[in-house]
């Protein structure tokens, strides 16, 4: 920097050194302020990690229990998917899967047959969604249904059994070993009924599944609905290392060649993702407001420091320090408080977050059965994200500097003559 441009200001390092030593003048006050900053930053970091953990878990939940990474449909099915139209199914599901598995980045595929049904316990009848899953085959390569069986066991290929969502089982008053009648309209429009034993109860944490879905062996569903060898969708799981966007692009191309329509999970769950994004924005605003309020202590500390050093400010101005230089001096002190307090808060937060990222937090014991608005199971795990931690820390620095803006601006407007007279 040229001498002209630097005139009336102090360099970065001089400023930092001066700020550090000035903070050490009143150590107790500095520590009290830094600890408040640390606690606020700790809470913010923890809240962010928890929210991020819940988000990630809810995404995993959707992928593991509901959508896979992508689904391939017959043309026209996706637009009409609310009606679960059987006449827009995929006829030769097996051969198609072989082709899809050859797409680079694809790890596994599974055919599913989703249909509308009524479930009856003999006295009550409820409309639900039934899904035929490839029990002996590849469903577990794409989905993680066995992990969600909270009671009983997973399906067996040749057994007349069903897995039923926990909420649905409760409403129907059924448990393991009870029989339910499944009533559904076949592809031809005829009604078909079959009695199935409840072999397992599902607790995925996802209300769409737990409160309204039952799973049956795919072959059974195909027979019942008069759709041998057919499916309504092929669910696809990508390899862990595969890049999602690129793999999806290739999958789309391969599906299009077969006259089919591939959709990524983010598209299928668009509504949920929009909700998550809105919640995230609201939360971020709330956290920034919280942190700003918590940092009022910094404002007070800098205000007092500036007051105590009024004559010193006058002297510096006499030496040629411009008002902007005075402002920078106190902004640096505030920012340094944020840097120190933020470092402590972030470090302690990082340890706590790392611990809960492994051991998890039992939300059932905290919230009971309360629906927290995300499809997650009983334990939630914090997300340990170094980038997010760094962001939280820098946010604290920026907000601490912002909190010292007022006292710094006030000090910068002092009249040197008045300031020098200050006792």
């Amino acid at each position: 920097m040229s001498a002209e441009a630097r005139a009336g200001r102090l360099g970065f390092f001089t400023l930092g050194r001066l700020a550090w030593r000035n903070l050490r003048r009143n150590r107790r006050r500095t520590w009290i302020t830094a600890v408040t900053v640390a606690v606020a930053v700790l809470l913010m970091q923890f809240a962010m990690a928890l929210m991020m953990g819940v988000e990630r878990q809810s995404f995993d939940n959707l992928i593991n229990y509901q959508t896979g990474h992508a689904k391939v449909f017959a043309n026209g099915y996706y637009a009409a998917r609310e009606d679960l139209p059987l006449d827009r199914g995929i006829a030769a599901a097996e051969t198609l899967q072989v082709r899809l598995r050859a797409v680079p980045g694809v790890q596994a595929t599974a055919a599913r047959l989703t249909f509308q049904a009524q479930l009856s316990n003999g006295s009550d009848q409820l409309p639900c969604v039934g899904i035929g899953i490839d029990v002996g085959g590849s469903d577990t390569d794409v989905f993680r249904i066995p992990q969600a069986v909270t009671d009983g066991a997973y399906l067996e290929p040749d057994r007349l059994g069903m897995l039923i969502g926990g909420g649905l089982a409760e409403v129907l008053g059924v448990g393991l070993g009870d029989w339910l009648t499944v009533l559904a309209k076949t592809l031809n429009g005829a009604f078909e009924a079959v009695d199935l034993e409840v072999v397992g109860v599902l607790g995925t944490g996802n209300p769409a599944i737990d409160r309204g879905t039952f799973l049956v062996p795919l072959a059974l569903a195909q027979t019942m609905l008069a759709m041998p060898g057919a499916a309504t969708e092929i669910a696809v799981r990508f390899r862990p290392a595969a890049r999602e966007g690129a793999t999806l692009g290739r999958l789309r191309a391969a599906a299009a060649e077969s006259g089919l329509d591939a959709r990524g999970w983010r598209e299928i769950e668009f509504d949920f993702l929009a909700l998550v994004s809105a919640k995230r924005t609201g939360r971020t605003v709330a956290l920034v407001v919280f942190l700003t309020v918590a940092l009022v202590g910094v404002t007070n500390t800098i205000l007092m420091a500036a007051f105590e050093r009024t004559r010193e400010i006058g002297m510096l101005m006499a030496l040629g320090l411009r008002g902007s230089g005075v402002r920078r001096l106190f902004l640096a002190e505030g920012a340094l408080l944020g840097l120190l307090g933020g470092a402590v808060g972030t470090l302690v937060g990082a340890v706590l977050i790392a611990w809960l990222a492994v051991s998890g937090l039992d939300i059932a014991s905290v919230y009971g059965d309360l629906d927290i608005g995300y499809p997650v199971q009983d334990r939630i795990y914090t997300a340990f994200d170094a980038g997010a931690l760094l962001f939280g820390w820098l946010l604290a620095v920026a907000l601490a500097a912002l909190a010292s803006l007022y006292p710094a601006a006030r000090a910068s407007r002092l009249d040197p003559v008045e300031a020098l007279r200050h006792v």
Partner: protein, 236 residues
């Protein structure tokens, strides 16, 4: 000889509520380059106000102040700050060193403000001036580890390090015992003679006045007497 500063019918009036209080009521003075001048007078005679005007800390309500041949009228706060940084040095009654900085760092501050970018050059200049004021062995002490006289020596070094046109000292010895006060005056006089830097200081101590080569007495905001003692007293 060019003037270090020139005051032409300078007036300064302060407003206290609805009251107008005249502190300086029409002072004309020319301070020649290399001057060693005392401004004396009782409290309220306008010494400090005059010094603030000469120090570009304040601007007059009437008349003209020129420092290093440049008028200060119409300069903004920022321009005044830059002007002080470039041309003026200050020594205060209460020393006003920054307590968290060492003597060396305190003296380096004006150079940093001036943007003397070369660290080696700054170091060299700081050490030279601190040696000149007799603190070669105490450069790394903080103000609290120095006596009053030593602190004032640091302050003089701080005022001189940027080689200003004019050094202003407001009652520089008022907080010192008479022996130390004498030493400080001798030091300032010595620096004035060696470097040619002009010094203007205010005082109401007759012993201190004796060191001056020119003595201006103020009364009620007006010059009462202007006495030149060229080749004068020096140290006794």
């Amino acid at each position: 000889m060019t003037a270090a500063a020139r005051l032409t019918d300078v007036r300064k009036t302060y407003r206290v509520g609805d009251l107008e209080v005249p502190a300086v009521r029409g002072v004309s003075l020319e301070i020649e380059a290399g001057a060693f001048m005392a401004i004396a007078g009782p409290s309220g005679s306008g010494k400090t106000t005059l010094l603030n005007l000469l120090g570009a800390l304040d601007t007059p309500t009437g008349g003209a102040v020129e420092i290093a041949e440049r008028p200060t009228a119409g300069l903004s706060a920022r321009e005044l700050a830059d002007f002080r940084g470039a041309h003026l040095g200050f020594v205060f009654q209460t020393f006003n060193l920054i307590p968290v900085l060492t003597a060396r760092e305190n003296v380096e501050l004006p150079l940093q403000l001036q943007g003397v970018g070369d660290r080696a050059e700054r170091r060299e200049r700081v050490e030279r001036v601190l040696t000149d004021v007799g603190l070669a062995d105490l450069m790394d002490r903080r103000p609290t580890e120095l006596s009053g006289g030593q602190q004032q020596r640091v302050a003089i070094a701080r005022a001189l390090v940027k080689r200003p046109t004019l050094v202003l000292a407001d009652e520089p010895t008022a907080n010192l015992d008479s022996a130390t006060a004498g030493e400080i005056m001798a030091l300032m006089r010595g620096m004035n003679e060696r470097l040619g830097t002009s010094f203007v200081f205010s005082t109401h101590d007759p012993l201190v006045m004796e060191h001056a080569r020119r003595l201006v007495r103020l009364h009620d905001g007006l010059v009462k007497s202007d006495e030149r003692r060229d080749g004068g007293s020096g140290v006794r």
